[in-house]
């Protein structure tokens, strides 16, 4: 988390994301991103465990919308979304310390929960 409160978010190249909302598809790619391996969730937020390990990760995530769009809004938090449920799958590789990791092929991954759509928040609400 950054000092400004932004949570696990980076600016990436526009070309790393391809979206076709009409077709209901999107792809997110990352290549050789230098990350910190915080080892576990608590340590990543509270920094109360082992120091992070420098790591390098690459990934591809694909979304395919599967249902109709629904509109959601929370005026109190100035958020409006138009989202479709989706199937999302990914493959990835990582290197951290003495270990390398290679995921099974993207097609073998399973969606726990996924959304694809549009949103407006804050000054665009």
């Amino acid at each position: 988390m950054r000092q400004n409160g932004l949570f696990w978010t980076v600016v990436t190249d526009d070309r790393d994301v391809t979206v076709d909302l009409t077709a209901g598809t999107a792809t997110l790619r990352g290549r050789n991103l230098h990350m910190k391996d915080h080892h576990d969730f608590e340590n990543s937020l509270l920094h109360n465990g082992e120091p992070p390990t420098p790591s390098v990760v690459s990934y591809t995530v694909k979304w395919t919308a599967t249902g109709t769009a629904s509109s959601f809004a929370d005026p109190a938090l100035r958020y409006r979304g138009n989202l479709r449920p989706a199937i999302a799958q990914m493959d990835w590789t990582a290197r951290s310390g003495n270990f390398e990791y290679t995921s099974a092929p993207l097609e073998t991954s399973t969606t726990d929960l996924a959304w694809l759509g549009t949103e407006s928040n804050g000054s665009y609400f």
Partner: protein
């Protein structure tokens, strides 16, 4: 989708505290797969934001990306640990059905959010030993569109939540 796994309205409560000092003999993924995710009291797993080994988060290499310091986080938060409020939600499991799937505020555009599970192969680079491990609820997201920064200027940008 396995939506039934997230139907609980119970508050998200970490039920698998970190066992510090348990590094020896366990890879990061091993520890991650057993401890990284959050469970509700009903036993439904909720959030983990990981790709790769252990819990990988953006580091210094990304910190200097143009404009990131101008980005406002969403006002909605999740209290993963008592008194620690993180500016992240995930509809409907974190923040309810009207929760913002993005993390960037003053934003308009496309958004994708996903929790994905699967398996991976771990290889010890020193010994060559390999084994297959699960990964659970990897939280991957993007936002692509325009945002208004702290300086009031509108910019086009693409954000990845990794």
């Amino acid at each position: 989708m396995r939506r039934d796994r997230f139907d609980s309205d119970d508050p998200l409560t970490p039920t698998r505290p970190v066992q510090r000092g348990a590094h020896e003999g366990h890879s990061h993924v091993d520890r991650w797969t057993r401890r990284r995710f959050i469970q509700t009291s009903a036993g439904t797993a909720a959030l983990g934001a990981v790709v790769g080994a252990g819990l990988l988060r953006p580091g210094a290499a990304q910190a200097g990306a143009p404009g990131i310091g101008l980005v406002e986080p969403i006002p909605g938060t999740t209290e993963f640990f008592p008194g620690v409020f993180s500016h992240v939600q995930f509809p409907p499991i974190l923040g309810g059905v009207t929760a913002d799937p993005g993390t960037v505020f003053n934003f308009e555009g496309a958004v994708g959010a996903a929790l994905i599970s699967g398996t991976c192969e771990q290889r010890n680079r020193k010994t060559g030993a390999t084994r297959t491990l699960p990964y659970l609820f990897n939280d991957m997201r993007f936002q692509q569109g325009v945002f208004r920064g702290r300086d009031g200027h509108e910019r086009r940008a693409t954000f990845a939540f990794v």
